[in-house]
Symmetry: D2
Subunit: 289 residues, 4 copies
Amino acid sequence: MNMNNARTATLLMHCPDRPGIVAAVTRFLAKQGANIIDLDQHVDRAEGVFFMRVKWELDGFALSAEGFGEPFEAAIARDFEATWQLHHDPRPIRMAVFVSKMPHCLYDLLSRWQSGEWRVDIPLVIGNHETLRPVAEQFGLPFHHVPITPETKAEQEAREIALLREHDVDLVVLARYMQVVSPQLIDAFPQRIINIHHSFLPAFAGAKPYHAAHARGVKIIGATSHYVTEDLDAGPIIEQDVARISHRDSVGELVRKGQDLEKLVLARGVWAHLQRQTLVYRNRTIVFS
Amino acid sequence: MNMNNARTATLLMHCPDRPGIVAAVTRFLAKQGANIIDLDQHVDRAEGVFFMRVKWELDGFALSAEGFGEPFEAAIARDFEATWQLHHDPRPIRMAVFVSKMPHCLYDLLSRWQSGEWRVDIPLVIGNHETLRPVAEQFGLPFHHVPITPETKAEQEAREIALLREHDVDLVVLARYMQVVSPQLIDAFPQRIINIHHSFLPAFAGAKPYHAAHARGVKIIGATSHYVTEDLDAGPIIEQDVARISHRDSVGELVRKGQDLEKLVLARGVWAHLQRQTLVYRNRTIVFS
Amino acid sequence: MNMNNARTATLLMHCPDRPGIVAAVTRFLAKQGANIIDLDQHVDRAEGVFFMRVKWELDGFALSAEGFGEPFEAAIARDFEATWQLHHDPRPIRMAVFVSKMPHCLYDLLSRWQSGEWRVDIPLVIGNHETLRPVAEQFGLPFHHVPITPETKAEQEAREIALLREHDVDLVVLARYMQVVSPQLIDAFPQRIINIHHSFLPAFAGAKPYHAAHARGVKIIGATSHYVTEDLDAGPIIEQDVARISHRDSVGELVRKGQDLEKLVLARGVWAHLQRQTLVYRNRTIVFS
Amino acid sequence: MNMNNARTATLLMHCPDRPGIVAAVTRFLAKQGANIIDLDQHVDRAEGVFFMRVKWELDGFALSAEGFGEPFEAAIARDFEATWQLHHDPRPIRMAVFVSKMPHCLYDLLSRWQSGEWRVDIPLVIGNHETLRPVAEQFGLPFHHVPITPETKAEQEAREIALLREHDVDLVVLARYMQVVSPQLIDAFPQRIINIHHSFLPAFAGAKPYHAAHARGVKIIGATSHYVTEDLDAGPIIEQDVARISHRDSVGELVRKGQDLEKLVLARGVWAHLQRQTLVYRNRTIVFS
């Protein structure tokens, strides 16, 4: 059990900016006995929007997860026209991993889970090829082979959705899944599907970004983790990182170096989500620190 | 005139952690008509200390710079045992630059000032050699030659302190000054002298860090800007950055590459100070974002 | 005088790959008395092309700059179908700087020149606005105001070319020039015009890249220095670098942080050119280390 | 099978610098039918030492691994007083991994091996605790528990050496092994033991570097992979990298962020060794690119 998470609550909210929001929210929380351990707020002055993340200890807090909404709406949310989410984290987030044939991100995610680095449950791994079944099973996880062809896509995604619901999945991680996910799956898990794209988006969206990067002669390659939306490789970015390359690097070397980036950037994106640090507003992700 | 600074106030404070501090402070400010535009707080749970930076618009704020202290002490500071500073920024910070013979940091600082990138006044440049007089004068700034020998050090530093006071200096920047500053000068400007050290501290403190880095065969060099204390190169770090090197780089190449680092890291450290983002606690610098 | 440059010659060459090229070239040079101090070669196996940079001491070398071509063609170049350039560096490269209204890159370049960090001559600065005349003149350099409108572009560029020829300019640096350079100027200085673009190309080519980066919600911004070709922002990349940003950064903050990147990336690109480390092949730049 | 390695030879050499070395070596190789695919040389002018790495295709090369030494000594090495190593790479390098209780580096190394990213054999894992036996065995590798106490150290290291010899091990990787290795083991595998230290050496050598980094208030943490010598944490550095931290990061957060660095920096160090890119000279590592 991770003490930092197990006994805290996290509130994420945004609303039109106006004076007094922080004072009102923190006063509300203080009255209910909250000891705030982290507060990060930000005003986008161009948009006129106020964003806040507050985290407090549940010890001594008067409200239950179910009992929070009504008084918070009455005291704060209605007045400030706030959109908000509360995370009491009573249990670990349940995460499904989708893969295709490349194993590096899968190894990385499963190692973080199995070693206890991440407080997360992984009820299943889904692959559109059988290739990575041995990796999942070596880590003691059930692997579901759900092959997808243009003809079977709708039907097979329906089967995936059923599997995810059956296993009570909160978060879907596309670990180099190499399939375009259709709206029905996205709508079933809005802002809860994280993808890793193997380029520094918006550069080199789409297929074969390392080939394109090599052809363009860039001196730096990147990777991007983002929430999946209906626009391919255009969803809200959570995390990006880059690595320096040189003219000596063939496409094969870019692929090899890029895999280390992909692992890191995907892991950091998932970690931010697990920590309830992310808040999507329009097509951008606020990542509170 | 930089609108972001000209009409805002910034409060930096720390105190023993306990519930309700954010609520109390933001409520106090809201009552006085403050529109908070930035609030960053942090609890060091190992030390049990609460840190906060709050910035608000002065339009509509009821208290003057002089009138703030008494009600804030009465309502907040005494009760929470808070140490605090208020910055109304009625005028630009007045910054003196100390140099020796190397010009790169001086060029960089003066360019940022002259171009208006920084809202700062530079009333004088002091050098322990005549070397950089032409640079200061080319930028239209008075240059004072204050040569220092072991015998004349106490006397010459007294002269420097007099010059700094005469010009109403708030901040002293040691731009590769290459002289150890004595306690009398440090005590006259506590936490208001920023130095750039040409290594990734605490590695390679002291003289000739690039030679030492080369001899040790490191693969990365660094630079560190920090507040000056009586312990050489051991004051609270504000900013650090690094650059990758290789076996191909001679000591001369390290010096050349390091100069770009030094300029950047010193400029970022000074910028954080100018923005009132820094708060020193014991030997560490909180740099609010 | 920079000893590293003053008494050396640098050969840059490429040719179809086949066995024996290094042996043949180094044997040729050894026979003429060259002491090689740096040799960097690279084979692009996908393209089947061999690239090499060799640098040697001129002390004891038998051939003059003029006398090199004939024996080298006879012994090496014809046989291997090599394209080559020899740089004897008998005098500093002569560099013109083109500017518009933003001063940060100009300050940076002129500081490197004036301080002697770079062994380069700057015979003139050309601006399409008067804005930066004081900066150039403060550094003691002639400033030519060549305003450009759609109607006068051809005529004014002809004037620029005349100025560049009159001053015997080798290299043109566009230091945030903000004008599209037309083919007549590019053709007059092929692979000798370096531009800084304020994004991580190919992302955000064209106008207002910081606004575009902010709108896309990227977590990292970049800058790119490249040789200018007729395709806007699509020429061979010399150098790129990036800086991490967050949701807290407004467009104005991106501009401010980006300026430091632009200075560094332009300076590194120009430095690589000055050191004769760059070799353009198709649309990519080999940057020898 | 990795074609790039399977059919190539790599020569690493250093000798006192003098004219004609590259010409002599490449001519020797060309005569024997070598097609050079990579040549990287470097002269340390301060030390007067020449370093070179040459890689060529074995197809058509006249000399066997055993037959290379005599003619190369006769034609080159004796004359130039060269120290050299030839790597024909007839079989994958055999690598042992030493661990203690922390699993992250072990997972990372085994994933790279099992996925085929690295062409390497891992005949055994040795732990001074039983903790990581399940990880090794899950990957199908034998795990040897060799507990070490001050009293049993000499005896147990002798057992380790016996195990390493029995399994024909070429390279020992200390993956957060947390034990000081004694001279007898180092002497048995000179320049063939790679350690990961969890700081940016030479800063924070010894125990608990993350605690020390936190106490010093650094803004960047690092990791260092190096060859093990008898001086603790002072051996020739192969690779380093860093990550930015802030005042918000507790020691626990530094540990968590540092683990990702450790994995990367150890993997890059081992990779450079596997690629025969490293050459130790005195206490520095040349890492050819």
